[in-house]
């Protein structure tokens, strides 16, 4: 094992960001950033491939004492396990794609890449940190890069959307901070480690609070954590920021936002809400899954219905994200004390996080390519794009079909796993949620039919773009789309590479 590999992976983008300060030439900046994201991706791939599945547990641990005060104790503790390894890989992959997709950027290039790289560092930090306060630090730090990226390089009502995003997330973060402090106020909690690591003698919070009476009731702490993640997921009725933020963000930021930032919430649900509250006194997560599944189902159906009404391509994908992230919660809620029983749905839920990351990433990427050329995202002004840009349309179709859950693509695998698992526990909710798939088929097919096929609907006096001079994307534009398609098809054909990992991780979270 190589020491400090996780730490290097987390901070490599941030170091590159500092290095970028010295550069002035635009091409050098773009090249350095893409190169750095390639290196980070290689690191994350290396972590993923060398994670020893036979050994299991937390690997590549870096541990230092950080804050050692009477009032709070916390340590710098990072490492990966079966659950976080695929998400680290996803972050590396999507950051690479995001950097490559931004090579055309003209405005304030240096700052742009600095923020993107800092964003990557903070997301990697969230997925690898095993100390609760450290987790929170990375979770909150991501706000500033996102605020800057949306409000400077965005379009439309960008400042409004950026502020809305920050205010929603900060409000969620406020709840999380209180929950963390409330956990620490209990006498039995002597450190803030999120997991137990026997190798270095650390007892995690799940063990420390098991069966103990907490100063603040466990149910309140649970709800506070849940609200923080529900905002980020986003869950109906806290989803309001997402369509605005997505619509007004630049392409690469939409990719990062939908691809990895939403997954931080799912990761938190598994690691904290599920990990901590299994054996707490007076409140166990298993007794309250009815409420979770209800929220998940509402999100799925609500998101899908609202998606049907959208005419802006980006907004449409944003609302479909709400619906798709609802599946994460649906799969998450179908859990019981019995490991084998909830195997399918929890695994499917984790898979859904990964697959949604790649699929939406591809969707936003291709919408960005379309928008670059047509300068509009309004479906009513598009149409017949397959004739002029077949490659972009092909990738857009792939993302659409994967998103509606066509067998052979990754979306199918995760959705079928979720439904198989939840049907045993919540048959009614599963049947209702399954209509989400029907609705997804409706909005995806209807959208592609209107935007890609048929006749071009641009009015003759509308000078938004000239249909006859439209050109297909260049090779360099299509390269990131190609890269991101690989996992979509790979998982569709051979899901086991990731299922093994999530299986391992989830079995350790459910004890």
């Amino acid at each position: 094992m190589i020491n400090y590999l996780v730490t290097i992976t987390i901070f490599f983008p941030a170091l590159t960001a500092i290095f970028l300060l010295l550069l002035n030439d635009k091409n050098k900046i773009v090249f350095t950033s893409i190169f750095s994201s390639v290196i980070t991706f290689v690191f994350s791939l290396f972590l993923f491939l060398t994670y020893d599945k036979n050994l299991g547990g937390i690997q590549y641990i870096d541990h230092f004492k950080w804050i050692d005060s009477i009032n709070i104790k916390s340590s710098y503790l990072v490492g990966i396990d079966g659950f976080s390894a695929p998400l680290v890989l996803l972050t590396g992959l999507l950051s690479l794609v995001a950097c490559m997709a931004s090579w055309r950027i003209e405005k304030r290039v240096k700052e742009y890449f600095i923020w993107i790289l800092l964003l990557e560092t903070s997301v990697l930090g969230v997925f690898t940190s095993l100390d609760l306060l450290l987790f929170f630090v990375f979770f909150e730090f991501e706000l500033i890069p996102m605020y800057m990226l949306i409000s400077i390089w965005g379009s439309g009502r960008k400042e409004y959307s950026a502020t809305k995003f920050v205010i929603f997330t900060l409000a969620g973060g406020a709840f999380m901070l209180i929950a963390i402090l409330a956990l620490f106020s209990s006498a039995s909690v002597t450190n803030l480690s999120m997991v137990s690591i026997p190798e270095i003698g650390i007892l995690g919070i799940p063990e420390l609070i098991a069966g103990q009476k907490l100063v603040i009731p466990a149910s309140i702490i649970f709800i506070f954590f849940f609200i923080a993640f529900a905002v980020k997921l986003p869950l109906w009725p806290l989803h309001n920021w997402l369509p605005d933020a997505h619509t007004d963000a630049p392409t690469a930021v939409s990719i990062m936002l939908a691809g990895v930032l939403l997954k931080m919430a799912g990761y938190g649900l598994f690691r904290i809400n599920l990990g901590f509250f299994q054996e707490t006194l007076g409140f166990q997560i298993f007794d309250y899954t009815n409420l979770l599944v209800l929220l998940g189902t509402i999100s799925i159906i609500y998101g899908a219905i609202v998606t049907l009404r959208q005419t802006d391509l980006k907004r449409l994908i944003a609302y479909s994200s709400i619906s798709h992230m609802g599946y994460v919660l649906l799969g998450f809620s179908a859990m019981t004390n019995d490991q084998n029983y909830s195997y399918y749905s929890l695994n499917g839920s984790a898979m859904q996080m990964f697959t949604h990351g790649t699929i939406t990433g591809l969707s936003f990427l291709t919408v960005g390519l379309i928008y670059d050329r047509t300068h509009t995202r309004d479906i009513n002004k598009l149409g017949a794009l397959t004739r002029k840009m077949p490659m972009v349309a092909l990738f857009f179709m792939i993302s659409g079909l994967a998103s509606l859950g066509l067998p052979g693509f990754s979306g199918f695998v995760s959705e079928i796993m979720i439904f198989l698992g939840t049907y045993k526990i919540f048959p009614v909710y599963t049947i209702i949620s399954a209509f989400g798939v029907v609705l997804a088929a409706a909005y995806i097919l209807w959208m592609t039919q209107r935007a890609l096929f048929g006749e071009n609907k641009l009015k003759s006096d509308d000078k938004t773009y000239d249909f006859n001079s439209l050109k297909d994307a260049s090779m360099f534009d299509l390269l990131p789309a190609f890269i991101i398609t690989i996992p979509i098809i790979l998982i569709g054909i051979w899901p086991n590479i990731f299922i093994d990992f999530f299986d391992l991780g989830i079995k350790e979270i459910i004890r």
């Binding site: 804050i67 005060s69 209180i178 402090l181 106020s185």
Partner: protein, 476 residues
């Protein structure tokens, strides 16, 4: 029995007094502006070194001058921070003092005297001494405010004068009640063995007297006006040095008085309401402001509310005092960088309105980044000292069962995002062009840069001073 050897314990204030007199006299003999400032800085550096040496070679707490002063690590730690902050202010505002203040030696001399007063405030363990040193620290400030040349300066000075005397009166009333019940003026001898309405009343009066100085709502009214009318070095001193001294005094009083096991539920509820009011009034007030100095004045009020949370927790658990001390030191460092970069910006734009920040980043990236780090620290974004301070203070609150207060604090810091982000938006996002009307000196950015580094270092690795702060509070 007093011995002359006890003078060694108050060596740094003595050095400062002599420096202050020397600065005043040297004005008669030389017209060179730099000598005045140079001698003042030399005196400050020497007294800081003396304090640091005393801190390193510290042996045991000493009660000196007939038990009216105490020499302990707490005093030394606060004194070192105070002296360093004042030196940084004088160094950075060199240009300002030379060009915009008519009576510079008097100005510097009075500032040093106020600093001496603040040092004695932290040392004092007797209510009479506390009263005298509080007066010594605030009377020079009144004159210093009036040194400003703005149209609001006299108004600001007069407001501060009236309210300072008023608050001292209330403070003394509180002392009278406490003396009446316990029969002692010395903090060491006051032992509250029972809850007596007169004691509660006395403590409330005492607290209100302090709250004026700390600009805690609803006794904050002077803050925005004074900030707007005062010369910037004094604004910076009021929001950094003055705060450190005031909160250090509160920590000392509260930890000495409440060392018994009685639970002061009513007092805790009263203080919690005040703390909540201060945060809310500060943040909501700041949202409405259009002037940068007034905005930061209201932000000071809000931060005083957060710091009070640690003081309330101190009533139940003594060790919670370290959170407030950490917060106030971190806040002083942050505000130092904020106000210095603000002065730099004001020199450039010749305006204090928020709109004057528009497009600053494009024309002056360095000062924008320093200013932005300061704002992020005030907002409490991770990796800055402001975040660590808030985490510590709220954790102290939750540990002592004040979860509602912690929730109020966290929600408030979330409200404050609105106006802090508004400033960032003006600086970074706005597409308007920055209107430059003057030039500025790089000393502001240099000193602000150093304090920004401190903000980040303490934010990433708070243990650097946190362990010694814990230690300092434990030996109180």
């Amino acid at each position: 029995m007093m011995e002359y050897s006890e003078l060694i314990y108050i060596l740094s204030p003595i050095i400062l007094v002599f420096t202050s007199l020397f600065v005043l006299m040297i004005d008669f003999f030389t017209s060179r502006k730099s000598i005045i400032l140079f001698s003042a800085l030399t005196g400050l550096v020497i007294s800081a070194m003396v304090s640091i040496l005393q801190f390193i070679s510290f042996e045991a707490n000493q009660s000196i001058f007939f038990d009216t002063l105490v020499f302990d690590k707490f005093y030394l730690f606060s004194a070192i921070s105070l002296i360093l902050i004042t030196s940084a202010i004088l160094l950075a505002f060199y240009d300002y003092i030379v060009n915009q203040i008519s009576f510079r030696s008097e100005f510097i001399s009075l500032l040093l005297l106020s600093l001496v007063g603040s040092l004695f405030v932290i040392m004092a363990t007797d209510f009479i001494t506390i009263y005298l040193s509080l007066e010594l620290s605030s009377l020079p400030i009144i004159a210093l405010i009036a040194f400003g040349r703005g149209k609001f300066s006299l108004e600001a000075a007069f407001k501060y004068l009236i309210l300072a005397s008023f608050s001292t009166g209330i403070f003394l009333t509180g002392v009278v009640y406490i003396y009446g019940v316990t029969g002692s003026l010395s903090l060491n001898n006051i032992i509250l063995s029972e809850i007596n309405p007169a004691i509660i009343l006395g403590l409330v009066f005492l607290f209100i007297g302090l709250a004026f100085k700390l600009s805690i709502a609803p006794w904050h009214m002077w803050t925005p006006d004074t900030y707007q009318g005062s010369p910037m070095p004094i604004v910076t001193y009021l929001s950094t040095g003055s705060k450190v001294a005031g909160f250090a005094l509160s920590i000392r009083i509260f930890s000495e008085i409440f060392s018994s096991n009685i639970s002061f539920t009513n007092l805790i509820i009263f203080l919690s309401i005040i703390s909540f009011a201060s945060m809310t009034v500060g943040n909501l007030g700041a949202i409405l402001q259009k002037d940068l100095k007034r905005l930061f004045a209201y932000s000071t009020v809000a931060h005083a509310g957060y710091m009070l949370v640690g003081i309330i927790a101190l009533i139940s658990t003594k060790s919670s005092g370290s959170t407030t001390l950490f917060y106030v030191v971190g806040y002083a460092v942050t505000n130092l960088s904020v106000f210095l970069s603000l002065q730099h910006i004001i020199n450039l734009s010749k305006s204090t309105s928020i709109e004057s920040l528009n497009g600053l980043f494009k024309s002056h990236p360095l000062v924008s980044i320093i200013f932005a780090f300061g704002i992020l620290s005030l907002l409490g974004i991770p990796a800055t000292v402001g975040f660590m301070g808030k985490v510590l203070v709220f954790s102290a609150a939750v540990n002592n069962g004040l979860i509602i207060l912690a929730i109020a604090g966290v929600i408030n810091s979330f409200i404050s995002a609105y106006y802090y982000l508004g400033l960032l938006r003006n600086i970074f996002v706005s597409s308007e062009k920055f209107v430059q009307k003057g030039n500025s000196n790089n000393t502001y950015t240099l000193v602000a840069f150093i304090s920004t580094i401190l903000v980040l270092v303490l934010g990433v690795y708070p243990d650097l001073i946190l362990s010694s702060i814990d230690n300092v509070i434990a030996e109180l």
